[in-house]
């Protein structure tokens, strides 16, 4: 469903601040696969997300969605295929517009926007049904401005908005990081539920190792712009935090050893 081919990105090339954010990334996601991505700050996780969404263009490499080359598509065109939830709960919704208007905008994602009413009676029913699945009582507040909702409610709405049109790819960018533990847990379980329900091909960045282990069918660890660890299926289910940290040290330590060997 998603294929990244030899992706490399360098920031501030030719200056002392030069940074290789992504280094020859090779990644393929099958349809319905739910991949969690972990890695320390500056590992290139966010850059990877931005490359897929089209907010950033790679120096070299290709991006295929559903077999279609999209690397030259501008962000707005690519988002026809991609649903995205940001870390900031304020980022995914328009605060001065109502819940139903926000949902209507998300509903138009994979359709051409026309000069017809965005919120119709029929759509209201549809939106109400979808909102009911969140169990937050938002279905009774269709006319409330989104700015009045709490951070958790807004993030739940963002999640719904980016999934209910069943996009080819769902990108989750630390989408629970800005919430308190109980809200984060709510969003985490909602995420699990919708991804399963719609069978979405998902890439989720997180700093929470437990979350990375609990959710999804595959786990990727990134460091210094490279994918250094990729595990799925049975093997992932058995993985524990300790083992993960150990793995990280082993891989990085070994490479450090290699470097030393080369230098000496």
């Amino acid at each position: 469903m998603l294929k990244l081919n030899h992706i490399s990105v360098t920031f501030n090339e030719g200056t002392p601040d030069e940074k290789r954010a992504l280094n020859d990334i090779q990644l393929e996601l099958n349809k319905g696969e739910f991949v969690t991505v972990i890695g320390s700050n500056g590992a290139g996780k966010s850059t990877l997300m931005n490359i897929i969404s089209g907010a950033l263009l790679p120096d070299v490499g290709d991006v295929f969605i559903g077999g279609k080359q999209v690397v030259h598509f501008p962000e707005y065109k690519r988002s026809t295929y991609i649903g995205r939830v940001f870390q900031d709960p304020m980022a995914g919704t328009a605060p001065s517009m109502t819940i139903e208007e926000n949902l209507s905008m998300a509903y138009s994602r994979d359709k051409k926007r026309k000069l017809r009413l965005g919120v119709t009676k029929q759509r209201k029913e549809l939106f109400r049904d979808y909102l009911t699945t969140l169990n937050l009582g938002l279905e009774d507040r269709l006319n409330a401005k989104v700015g009045l909702l709490s951070g958790g409610e807004r993030q739940a709405l963002s999640l719904l908005m980016s999934t209910f049109t069943e996009p080819n790819i769902l990108l989750l960018d630390e989408h629970t990081a800005a919430l308190d533990p109980s809200r984060a847990e709510l969003i985490t379980s909602l995420t699990d539920k919708v991804v399963r329900e719609f069978g979405l091909t998902t890439l989720m960045v997180t700093h929470n190792m437990q979350q990375a282990l609990d959710l999804g069918s595959r786990l990727i660890m990134m460091d210094k712009g490279q994918i250094i660890f990729d595990v799925n299926g049975e093997e992932k289910q058995k993985l524990a935090i300790e083992a993960l940290l150990h793995e990280f040290r082993r891989i990085r330590g070994m490479q450090f050893g290699d470097d030393r060997a080369v230098l000496s």
């Binding site: 988002s79 991609i82 980022a91 517009m97 017809r116």
Partner: protein
């Protein structure tokens, strides 16, 4: 007094179309667009030039809107494709339009006094209906001696402005309109929902300036002339209308907000007219009066709100103290 107020409402309802245009950019798109100072005159110039050259007044008025639309689109293109700051893009366009307006008119002021305007045509249809004498009979019954020349313009313009308001309301509720509103609210989000923000901004600023230029063309026909300086300070007038309207009538929904803008424009005209009745104020003081109105309209709601909050807290504290044991 009645006559001058009548005139204020009459021109106010036309300026309301301009204020709706400014509302689209300032409030909906969050795009402070100064093009309007130029495009208003462009509307007037195109209308005057066309009418003087024998084009039917209705067509001339439509042409004004088209010219404004093009000017607005250019500003939008400068901003989105040329990456020029919104304010600067508007100022550049406004400056460029000054020269273009002069070229269109061929002289700084173009008179239409000997031509037939849209309103002249209207009056010739209107007069035989006898509605004027009916209305005038009613107001002279109220003891007012000076009666307006015709009610036709006022009544037509009320219909036209309300019509434009309804169209705007509908537009802002369509799928495209929702995306347009989201641009002023959360641009990053609407882009991630596959809306082409660049082309939306370009058409949005275009429509805004089409309305402004339409108002320019109508004001020129009302006054019987177009002048290259008639757009001076217009942006502040537009803002004043929006702010007064919002302060008095609220912004709960789009339908309410656009109505507030129209009423704001009319009330602004009335305030200016009242101010000019004061002996020591002159016509040249208009701009100062406008600035003062905007400042008052901006500051007063805030002051009232702070007062109300303070009062509420004092009451709350008194309440807690009175029944306070449990809350200590």
């Amino acid at each position: 007094m009645f006559i001058s107020m009548f005139g204020a409402v009459e021109s106010g309802i036309i300026y309301a179309i301009m204020a709706l245009g400014v509302y689209l950019t300032f409030r909906v798109l969050d795009f402070p667009d100064l093009t309007v100072e130029g495009s208003f005159v462009t509307g007037a110039a195109v209308t005057a030039f066309s009418i003087v050259n024998g084009i039917p007044p209705f067509v001339a008025t439509v042409l004004a809107a088209v010219a404004g639309f093009i000017a607005g689109c250019l500003t939008g293109i400068l901003h989105t494709k040329g990456k020029i700051n919104a304010l600067l893009a508007g100022i550049l366009m406004m400056t460029a339009l000054y020269s273009i307006n002069l070229r269109v008119m061929g002289q700084p002021t173009l008179s239409m006094l000997n031509e037939t305007t849209l309103f002249d045509q209207l009056e010739s249809v209107w007069a035989p209906l006898g509605i004027d004498s009916l209305f005038n009979g009613m107001i002279s019954f109220l003891g007012i001696e000076q009666i307006p020349r015709t009610w036709a313009i006022l009544i037509l313009m009320i219909f036209v402005t309300i019509g434009i308001k309804l169209l705007t309301d509908f537009y802002l509720k369509t799928e495209i309109g929702l995306a347009l509103r989201a641009i002023g609210d959360n641009k990053k989000m609407i882009r991630s929902l596959s809306a082409n923000t660049d082309s939306l901004i370009i058409t949005g600023v275009g429509i805004s300036n089409a309305l402004v230029a339409l108002a320019g063309g109508l004001i020129a026909q009302l006054g019987g002339f177009a002048d290259v300086n008639m757009g001076l300070g217009l942006i502040v007038i537009g803002l004043a209308s929006i702010i007064i309207g919002e302060a008095l009538f609220g912004t709960k929904s789009i339908v309410r907000a656009t109505l507030a803008v129209i009423l704001g424009a009319v009330i602004y005209r009335m305030i200016v007219t009242l101010a000019l009745e004061v002996d020591f104020l002159e016509a040249g003081d208009m701009k100062l009066i406008t600035a003062v109105i905007v400042v008052v309209a901006l500051v007063t709601p805030k002051v009232i709100q702070t007062r109300r909050e303070k009062k509420r807290r004092i009451q709350k504290r008194a309440q807690l103290r009175a029944g306070g044991d449990g809350h200590a």
